[in-house]
């Protein structure tokens, strides 16, 4: 449904917001777009909606190019930008009516029906007569969500849909988003990890405009579930410690982290249960001091932190 092909976006010669991004979203799936602030999530979403054109590469939505067939794409897309696009002069009801007209719903009756429907599904029925200036952040966000789905679009792009909501509203919004999947194709950006785990079928993790991982949340967790993350602190000669660790056949990945004088930290991944004992023994046998040894099992959080902070460290 959505094909992002080798897309880059430069804001200036030096500033690359998005760097050669490629991914696709099949029809009916909910894709979570995960990354720290400033990773390029908003820029990518703006390019998918046609608000911005890519500097390089192309994007297709439902088979239509977002630049050359922009009008066709826009008919199929509902979009909640980073800031809900509300007009202070229009009450929620007349605002939704305006958006519905803008999206091409011609019959007044149909518009009325759709406003009632989205008012119910986004829980904004009690503020329809109010102007957005008097609304709380949570309500503004939900009105923004309502305008994104008012014309029942095939593709829905949501930039941080649960930001500013209270925990109960977050839960309800996730339910709403999950309910939209299936008939609709969704992309939502977030930096809240449980959100992705709960609502999304697929995850794309990006940082500094580049894709670090793309998979289902379950696979991403499984990828690290059997893998033990071990953190080691050893006092001794750094290069010899590294050689020793890398020589262990059961260690899949050994990353050097930092040094404080001759105290060195390493991050190790291994599938072998109980590898800690073996590691400890071989380090002590070399007459080095084993200062710390910690283990942690994998979660999406770990993968995320690991991917984002250790970019380039993992091979």
């Amino acid at each position: 449904m959505i094909e992002v092909k080798q897309v880059s976006k430069y804001y200036s010669h030096h500033q690359k917001a998005v760097d050669n991004l490629s991914f696709s979203v099949p029809k009916g799936t909910i894709l979570g777009f995960l990354g720290p602030n400033g990773a390029g999530k908003t820029t990518t979403m703006r390019m998918i909606t046609g608000f911005m054109a890519p500097s390089e590469g192309s994007i297709e939505v439902a088979g239509c190019d977002t630049v050359s067939q922009s009008m066709l794409v826009r008919q199929k897309i509902g979009y909640l930008p980073e800031t809900p696009p509300l007009y202070p002069e229009l009450t929620v009801e007349s605002y939704l009516d305006f958006v519905a007209r803008l999206k091409g719903i011609k019959s007044a009756q149909e518009r009325k029906k759709r406003i009632a429907e989205v008012a119910e599904s986004c829980w904004i029925g009690d503020v329809l007569k109010k102007s957005p200036g008097k609304l709380s952040k949570g309500y503004r966000q939900r009105v923004g969500l309502a305008q994104a789905i008012i014309h029942n679009p095939e593709v829905i792009i949501l930039d941080e849909p649960t930001i500013g909501l209270d925990p109960k509203q977050i839960q309800e919004t996730r339910k709403l988003i999950k309910g939209l999947g299936g008939q609709h194709t969704l992309i939502l950006s977030t930096h809240i990890l449980p959100e992705v785990q709960m609502t999304c079928d697929r995850v794309v993790i990006i940082n500094k405009g580049k894709i670090l991982a793309e998979d289902t949340p379950a696979n991403l967790i499984a990828r690290s579930a059997g893998v033990q993350q071990i953190r080691l602190q050893v006092r001794g000669p750094q290069s010899e410690i590294a050689t020793l660790l890398q020589a262990q056949p059961e260690i899949e990945n050994c990353m050097y982290e930092s040094s404080d004088a001759d105290l060195h930290s390493f991050h190790i991944q291994s599938r072998r249960i109980g590898i800690q004992a073996q590691l400890a023994r071989s380090i002590v046998a070399q007459d080095w001091d084993l200062m710390a040894l910690q283990t942690a099992s994998g979660s999406l959080e770990d993968i995320f932190i690991q991917l984002v902070t250790k970019e380039g460290g993992a091979d």
Partner: protein, 237 residues
């Protein structure tokens, strides 16, 4: 088409929901009412409406930027431009919808002065033609000011900056004709032709020249086109 009208309707709602439309119209009425009274007091010759139109067009030059300044600057500040530019309406449609709304507002404002000629008709026998063409001329010139203002409004999210730039450009185009005589024959003629003021004179005299009509339509058309282009470049930034 329905979408263009949706934009116009929304703009008109916004004008009348805020004090802008009322305050500006009231000021316009007050100042032009003052001039009308002064002209009535001084002389009752055939050209009296001509003076009034001349004065009113200066007032228009001063106050139309107040109508046009918010058109795109506010959308940028509120981050609502993202909604418009990702909706199934072309950039030209957005520009046209907004222009239609302000032009309509200008028309409403001009119509609030309709009691001036009605008073004249009740009290005497004025020439109708110069009055009608005078109003048409003011409307067209006002539309040109609004188009300039809408263009400057796409450049910034600061409404004051948009208004000041629009006012300066309009004023320069207005005075261009006056300095035409200093600039040599060919350039001077060109400057006089381009000036917004030159083409208004025939309207206020009751003469409907097709060349003057074409001038205003072209100026407005070119400005709207440049506005669309200015909006389009945002996608490539």
């Amino acid at each position: 088409m329905a979408q263009i009208w949706a934009i116009s309707l929304k703009e008109l709602k916004a004008y009348f929901a805020s004090p802008i439309a009322y305050v500006v119209t009231a000021m316009f009425l007050l100042i032009s009412g003052y001039f009308f009274a002064m002209i009535l007091a001084y002389g009752k010759d055939a050209g009296m409406m001509r003076y009034l139109f001349g004065n009113m067009s200066v007032i228009l030059l001063l106050i139309t930027p107040l109508f046009s300044m918010r058109l795109f600057a506010e959308e940028q500040k509120n981050k609502t431009l993202e909604l418009l530019m990702t909706s199934p309406i072309s950039d030209a449609g957005i520009v046209l919808g907004k222009f239609l709304a302000t032009a309509l507002l200008l028309l409403i404002m001009l119509l609030t002065t309709a009691h001036f000629p009605i008073l004249l008709l009740v009290l005497g026998k004025p020439d109708l033609m110069p009055i009608l063409t005078g109003y048409l001329g003011m409307f067209l010139m006002g539309c040109a000011f609004l188009a300039i203002g809408m263009l400057t409004s796409t450049w910034t999210q600061n409404q004051i900056v948009a208004a000041v730039s629009s006012f300066s450009i309009s004023l320069l185009l207005w005075f261009l004709g006056a300095s035409g005589s200093l600039a040599g024959a060919e350039l001077g003629a060109l400057m006089t032709y381009v000036s917004l003021n030159t083409h208004f004179e025939s309207f206020s005299k009751g003469v409907l020249n097709s060349s003057d009509l074409i001038y205003y339509f072209s100026v407005i058309g070119i400005l709207l086109f440049v506005t669309v282009r200015s909006l389009e470049t945002r996608r490539w930034r």
